[in-house]
């Protein structure tokens, strides 16, 4: 700052200790007279919208902006007339007159009480550059304007710097920075880049031959995979999911809408039509089922079926979600801010928000979730039949294998039976009594252990207690498949009944079986699969009666005789999920919990025994088949069948074939169900519209003033009669006069191909969003989109044929330092592919990919137990079998509370997302190294490729350099040496997913190749858009 200014300001500041603002005018006059004011003509003209407004927005609007409730000092700086108003004795902004402008004083003063923004606001003071902008702006006449994004885009003149308009605009910016484009990327890199961007898949090996670039671009745009690639963009924006989210997280069947999206993109549906159908397809004249289906977009939000939740609160949440999603996806506005208050930065009031809300407020919906989330469209998908046929064919593959396995297993059974018949003793006993090593209690019950292992309680009579009964592994058994608990009446009990409690009743709330190895502190808990008893009461809900209820961790239910047979012995049998192999080094502890609500019902006398017999022995109270066999002189056909059923439970090859077949049958049944008529959530208007109120502070039941439907006047005003319906609203969004939609949309397309938008905040084109790096280019593309009938492919083609797109992504340290975020595009961007593309590409490169389009969702591999642990077992994840496993990730079943585990940094699909998440973590490395699909792809690559060259062509679309070959050959040799010495390890590695064991003689070599294929799939280059 010049010395003169500083001096004056010091004087000015001295006066400022006097009461404000009575003396100010005087002061202004005084200074104004003393120093004649001149505009420095050599200075660069300031742009209000690009330079001044961002400063005002960031530092001032919070308290002096559109939000009336937070406004301080009755001053607003977002409206010209207000900012420049004659305030009687002073001006905040005086055109051309720095000294008369209180704003200027407030940003430069050193007085902390006067400084703006106030130091305690945690907003940064203006930098010297920013102060300079404000100074020049006021001096140059304080010209006002709108925020750039609210001005209708105009087609700027294309600079005469290149043939291609995109290159011309980019080059103009590069020249300003004294930078230039990089040379073109290598041909295979360009092809990979294009192929990923437009189809989400790498090019096939045969596509690598030279072809005309324009032809390749057109082929990629015409590929059915193009629609799939765009659909992922759109599904993230639409928060699409196959379940509701929240507590129940129930399933919905909205996937036909997903296929509508794929199809719309594959038909190259104009984006305005695409928008209108999704907003208001139901309101179009003679709406087709597909047009109604399109409106599912606005039903893809989460729905909350939590018990105790007020449905109206939920319904309001859904409407809010639609408004916010519309704001983010089409308008690039953070409308969510105005749910509770006027926008602090953008010209959107809370009333405006609820006027938009009104368009979505009269849907025929109740706020319910699950299968009650009306309105529905009854819809039968034309794409489900293919899935049914595929599933049926897979059953046909599995069925004969199961039958053959059964024949083999039966042969093994026959030879076993022959031996068993010869050796079975006539008094075979399935159950083996066990004498406990120790019996203990948590609360103080005492025990007497009798010779036959029976345990009698004594000592204090307690309300609740846990018994811990510990045994050595039974000596005469090699394994334990189940255990039996016998409960006895006794004279010492109340009235000779079953317990010492008041009623002589017992209530067993839980049982557990843990195993502890000698010398170890920790135990293993054995999973119990089922329980049966001689006497149970069939109760509903959390009541005492059923023995199976002893297997959960809930003390509100459990096993009791419910007052019946209190003087008789009773028996319960518990089956282990997997038989426990007896190990003399291990002790078994049975824990009996008596923790019922009323208590006073602890078992009085009991005995525990164990069996090694699986099947009906541990699933019923009948005599074991082998016991019957030992008693019967001859084995009847019926008994033989029972013995066979038991035998094959332990026959691993048969169990594997049976499980494959069972899964195939289950999948076939699910596909058939999906091929029937489904309810798809759609929009439908109520007969009587609901009143819409402003919700005070956004609280669902705090109703303020009633508002009418209206579009956002600050974006594009419409006469009320043209803004009545959802259809009117949709048409307003894609009106060629709407300044936002086309810009926001081309920015999404740019982001898809460059990894980042021309506006780096794709969700926010408002005042707090980033300014475009290339404003003229953004506007030119927006106009180009609108003038070409909202043809998305036209924009993709334009971008793909530019030099900017086709240049190399290599960067020098100098350029990296000058432009670390590649805003000027002196190089192509280099970024990691989204997780879904990495998976799809591994399937594609290996040839595993099943390229079918649409249909019911599929379930890719994921580690065991992920759903189970979130819901404590309520949902079980069963991966798809057969060719369905290798469908594209787009079709993966999306449980809202647990997204597919492979997708390590994808959108979350809870609310709409249009930005890009891209991180680099060790968890991603683990996923790509160890996921089953990646390993299966590696196995297939090992089989299909002939050496390194073939592998490199498939995975990297190029040949290897000699130094690269040397590294890979070295690792191959090391792996081969290992697997030659351990061929069984090789077979284990290769037998992954649905892949069958290899021919033994090829196993070591194939396994070594598999590790190299996996290595290559994990290279940075393989997973990167270069």
């Amino acid at each position: 700052m010049e010395g003169l200014d500083t001096r004056i300001l010091s004087a000015f500041a001295l006066f400022r200790v006097m009461p404000f603002p009575s003396l100010q005018k005087l002061l202004v006059v005084f200074i104004g007279c003393a120093i004649p004011f001149t505009v420095r003509s050599d200075e660069k003209l300031v742009s209000f919208s690009r330079e001044v407004l961002p400063i005002l927005s960031d530092r001032c609007f919070h308290c002096h902006g559109p939000d009336a409730s937070h406004r301080k000092a009755k001053l607003r700086l977002d409206i010209e007339s207000e900012a420049k108003r004659d305030r009687g004795d002073y001006f905040v902004v005086a055109e051309g007159d720095l000294k008369a402008s209180d704003l200027w004083y407030r940003i430069i003063t050193e007085d902390g009480d006067e400084l703006m923004p106030p130091p305690d606001s945690h907003r940064k003071p203006l930098t010297s550059d920013e102060r300079d902008i404000m100074r020049r702006w006021i001096e140059q006449g304080a010209k006002w304007g709108k925020h750039w994004a609210f001005e209708k885009p105009a087609r700027a003149e294309v600079p005469d710097l290149a043939k291609h308009p995109i290159d011309a605009f980019v080059r103009a910016k590069l020249e300003e920075q004294s930078l230039s484009h990089s040379p073109p990327a290598e041909a295979h890199t360009q092809l990979r880049r294009l192929s990923f961007d437009l189809t989400g898949l790498s090019p096939g090996v045969d596509e690598l031959e030279n072809k005309n670039w324009e032809t390749i671009v057109d082929q990629k745009l015409a590929s059915p995979h193009h629609g799939e690639r765009l659909a992922v963009w759109w599904l993230d924006a639409a928060r699409y999911s196959d379940t509701d989210g929240y507590q129940q997280d129930l399933e919905r069947t909205n996937w036909p809408w997903r296929d509508w999206v794929v199809n719309a993109f594959n038909q190259n549906m104009p984006f305005d039509q695409f928008t209108i159908e999704q907003f208001a397809g139901d309101l179009l004249p003679d709406a087709t089922p597909e047009q109604i289906l399109a409106t599912c977009f606005h039903r893809n939000h989460m729905t909350n079926g939590e018990g105790g939740r007020h449905p109206e609160e939920s319904r309001i949440d859904y409407v809010i979600d639609r408004v916010n999603t519309t704001g983010t996806v089409w308008l690039g506005l953070t409308l969510g801010c105005t749910q509770c208050h006027d926008h602090k930065f953008d010209p959107v009031s809370q009333k405006d928000y609820y006027s938009l809300f009104a368009y979505f407020n009269s849907i025929e919906e109740t706020g319910a979730a699950g299968r009650k989330a009306t309105p529905y469209l009854d819809y039968q998908s034309p794409l489900a039949d293919r899935a049914v046929k595929e599933a049926e064919a897979h059953v046909a593959v599995c069925k004969p294998l199961e039958a053959a396995a059964k024949v083999e297993a039966t042969k093994r059974f026959d030879s076993w039976l022959a031996k068993a018949e010869a050796s079975l003793s006539p008094d075979f006993q399935a159950w083996h009594g066990m004498k406990p090593l120790r019996v203990g209690s948590a609360e103080g019950t005492e025990f007497v252990v009798e010779d036959d292992g029976t345990v009698q309680t004594k000592g204090p009579r307690l309300r609740q207690d846990d018994y811990r009964v510990t045994f050595a592994g039974p000596k005469n058994l090699t394994r334990v498949a189940g255990w039996k608990l016998e409960v006895f009446p006794d004279e010492s009990h109340t009235d000779g009944k079953l317990s010492r409690g008041k009623e002589g009743e017992f209530i067993l709330t839980n049982v557990k079986l843990v195993v502890q190895r000698k010398g170890e502190s920790q135990v293993r808990e054995m999973e119990l699969k089922g329980a049966v008893a001689d006497l149970e009461t069939d109760v509903k809900g959390r009541k005492y009666g059923k023995v199976k209820d002893t297997l959960d961790d809930d003390p509100r239910n459990g096993w009791t005789t419910n007052g019946k047979g209190l003087t008789d012995p009773h028996t319960a049998i518990f089956e282990l999920s997997e038989p426990l192999l007896v190990d003399p080094e291990e002790e078994l502890t049975f824990i009996l919990l008596h923790r019922s609500t009323n208590g006073d019902a602890n078992i009085g006398r009991f005995r525990i025994s164990a069996t090694d017999q699986r099947g009906e022995t541990v699933r019923s109270l009948k005599a074991a088949p082998l016991e019957e066999a030992s008693r019967a002189g001859k084995i009847s056909p019926e008994l033989r069948n029972r013995l066979l059923s038991q035998f094959i439970l332990d026959d691993a090859p048969y169990q594997a074939a049976k499980s494959d077949h069972d899964e195939a049958v289950r999948q076939y049944a699910a596909a058939k169900k999906a091929a029937g008529t489904l309810g798809v959530q759609v929009l439908a208007e109520r007969k009587e519209p609901r009143d819409t109120h402003v919700l005070v502070r956004g609280v669902w039941d705090a109703k303020g003033d009633i508002v009418q439907r209206s579009v956002l006047p600050a974006v594009l005003a419409l006469p009320a009669e043209k803004a009545q319906t959802r259809l009117d609203f949709a048409k307003w969004i894609v009106s060629s006069d709407n300044p936002l939609t086309a810009r926001v949309t081309v920015n999404h397309l740019w982001q898809m191909m460059f990894g980042a938008g021309l506006v780096r905040t794709p969700e926010d084109f408002g005042l707090q969003g980033e300014s475009p790096t290339h404003p003229e280019l953004l506007d030119w593309l927006a106009v180009e989109l609108m003038e070409n009938d909202w043809n998305l492919r036209h924009i993709f083609r334009l971008i793909a044929t530019s030099e900017t797109y086709r240049q190399s992504s290599a960067v020098t340290p100098e350029l990296l330092e000058r432009d670390p975020e590649n805003r000027w595009l002196a190089r192509a961007p280099r970024f990691r592919l989204p997780a879904w593309m990495i998976r799809d590409n591994a399937l594609q490169a290996s040839g595993l990919l099943n390229p079918a389009i649409g249909g019911p969702p599929i379930k890719p591999w994921q580690p065991e137990g992920v759903w189970e642990e979130i819901f404590m077992g309520r949902f079980t994840y069963q991966p798809s079998v057969g060719p369905a496993q290798y469908r594209r990730t787009l079709y993966a079943y999306w449980r809202r509370s647990s997204a597919p585990t492979f997708l390590f940094d994808s959108a979350q699909r809870r609310v709409c997302e249009v930005g890009v998440r891209r991180t680099n973590t060790p968890l991603q490395a683990l996923t790509l190294l160890n996921d089953t699909a990646m390993l299966e792809a590696s196995r297939i690559l090992a089989e299909k490729t002939n050496g390194l060259e073939g592998l490199a062509q498939r995975v990297l679309s190029r040949s290897l350099a000699p130094d690269e070959t040397a590294i890979l050959e070295r690792e191959y040799a090391k792996a081969l040496t290992f697997y030659r010495g351990a061929p069984e390890e090789a077979t284990t590695l290769l037998t992954v997913g649905q892949q069958k064991p290899p021919p033994p003689e090829r196993a070591p070599e194939l396994a070594a190749w598999m590790t190299i294929a996996s290595l290559m799939l994990n290279l940075d280059e393989a997973m990167t858009h270069e």
């Binding site: 939590e306 939740r309 297997l551 090391k974 280059e1021």
Partner: protein, 468 residues
């Protein structure tokens, strides 16, 4: 590129907090020893013992003997003041159910703790009970989301993610934020969504990593069967060398990061199994934490894990114990969850103290809301339970600069409204951040054009009365 902006964002915050920028290597994370923030940190790490479902303050901590006289009478409207109820009880009369447990005073501080928590009672002098917690959500998922992310709508970063973002790593072999969920055998009514420990709009490297009680304790941690360590090492060497060549050709710093991350993954394959392997813990530890601590995946075993993580410098460890939603049958249901958690929670405090870790570890015990004074179901039957209640609940804290042996705040005679010193969830967040040396006002992250804070837009206060 993205990492670069994250780093800029981080540095912007760190700059605002008065941290020494020169000490931060470009592209690297903040080193613990350089963490000199504007507020002197008292805690270096947090252990959050999350009791999901809403434990009953009336049965456990908030002793209201005066209620006995009012048993079965209707809750006065002067107290209820239009408090909304869930639709589970909004149709029934609000009849007072006095706390069904016996209380006594414990320790020199004389804190009231119920008979159902004898072990917690025995360490009352180590704890700071906050009896005046307030939230504004009445249903589980929104309330837990609020409790853990500061906002009821999913999408914001969790408290742990903010902490790991703000403080960075000490341990190079483990993630900064780990989550352990008790293994239980009943279908949960309140699923534990991963957004409870999510990173929201912060980069996903700050999200909590779930340590599962399963074959893969971290998803995809195990190498496939048939792939021995030596072959894996060779593969990683090959990946590293080829990536290095690519880095030299392209100049993309992201490749250098990827090389490091693959190496970290390799180290995690050793460090996590070591962490999970409790065989190096002496018998006395299992005796301290109780019999359930011998069962891997139990809350008690997870408490031992929490101490092991504290020893390894992990910034944020979060345990979840589900099933505190006791709408019925308090005598059997609530006692079951007390037995699961009482001894191990107390043991963790004792253990941390014995090892000199309590001073710089902040331990927080609590759930998303409290429970109402009205009985749900027939009030005078053992079958009765309680509905959700947002207007007051009790949590306790220990260590990490919190004043031990204190009780802060109080409720009215009905344990219905806060009578003095309300502590809103955002105040708890502000206080915890303060103990970690972070000023909650300036700790923000720019997203969608706005500066987001854990404590949200409403003003939050640091509860200075409970700080040492």
């Amino acid at each position: 590129m993205n990492n670069f902006s994250d780093e800029l964002n981080r540095r912007t915050f760190l700059g605002q907090s008065g941290l020494n920028l020169g000490a931060i290597a470009l592209g690297g994370l903040l080193n613990d020893t350089n963490a000199v923030s504007r507020i002197a940190p008292k805690a270096k790490r947090v252990i959050f013992l999350t009791q999901s479902g809403g434990p009953s303050q009336l049965e456990l901590f908030d002793y209201k003997p005066g209620l006995r006289k009012m048993a079965g009478t209707e809750l006065p409207e002067s107290i209820r003041q239009g408090q909304r109820l869930t639709t589970m009880t909004s149709g029934q009369k609000q009849l007072i159910l006095p706390g069904i447990t016996e209380f006594s005073r414990h320790g020199q501080s004389g804190a009231t703790v119920s008979e159902w928590l004898p072990h917690t009672a025995s360490i009352a002098d180590e704890l700071c009970f906050v009896k005046s917690m307030v939230t504004d959500q009445i249903n589980h998922a929104p309330a837990m989301t609020k409790f853990l992310t500061g906002n009821q709508i999913p999408g914001r970063p969790s408290f742990g993610a903010w902490t790991s973002y703000g403080l960075g790593s000490v341990n190079k072999n483990l993630p900064d934020y780990l989550v352990l969920i008790s293994r239980m055998k009943r279908p949960s009514d309140q699923p534990l969504y991963d957004h409870y420990w999510g990173s929201g709009f912060l980069p996903s490297k700050y999200q909590g990593v779930k340590l599962r009680n399963a074959k893969d304790s971290v998803l995809y941690l195990r190498d496939p069967d048939g792939l021995p360590r030596e072959v894996r090492r060779g593969m990683l060497d090959g990946i590293g060398e080829l990536n290095q060549k690519r880095f030299e050709q392209t100049g993309d710093p992201e490749i250098a990061t990827r090389i490091q991350q693959y190496e970290m993954a390799y180290r995690m394959q050793t460090s996590i199994p070591e962490l999970n392997d409790l065989s190096d813990e002496p018998e006395s530890v299992f005796e301290l934490y109780g019999p359930d601590s011998r069962r891997p995946g139990s809350y008690a075993a997870n408490c031992i894990m929490a101490r092991r993580l504290a020893e390894r410098g992990v910034r944020f460890t979060q345990l979840f114990h589900p099933d505190w939603d006791h709408h019925s049958r308090l005598p059997s249901w609530c006692t079951a969850r007390c037995r699961d958690t009482d001894q191990p929670s107390a043991a963790l405090i004792k253990d941390l103290k014995m090892r000199g870790l309590l001073d710089d570890t902040l331990v927080i015990w609590g759930g998303e809301f409290g429970r109402g004074v009205a009985g749900q179901g027939k009030w005078d039957s053992p079958e009765a339970g309680r509905d959700h209640h947002p207007r007051c609940f009790t949590i306790w804290m220990a260590g990490g600069g919190v004043k031990p042996g204190t009780t802060y705040g109080a409720t009215d005679n009905f344990s219905y409204n806060v009578a003095e010193n309300p502590v809103h969830v955002r105040d708890l967040h502000a206080t915890a951040l303060n103990l970690l040396g972070i000023d909650h006002e300036s700790f923000s992250y720019r997203f969608q054009g706005l500066d987001f804070k854990l404590t949200g837009v409403e003003s939050a206060r640091v509860v200075r009365d409970i700080l040492v």
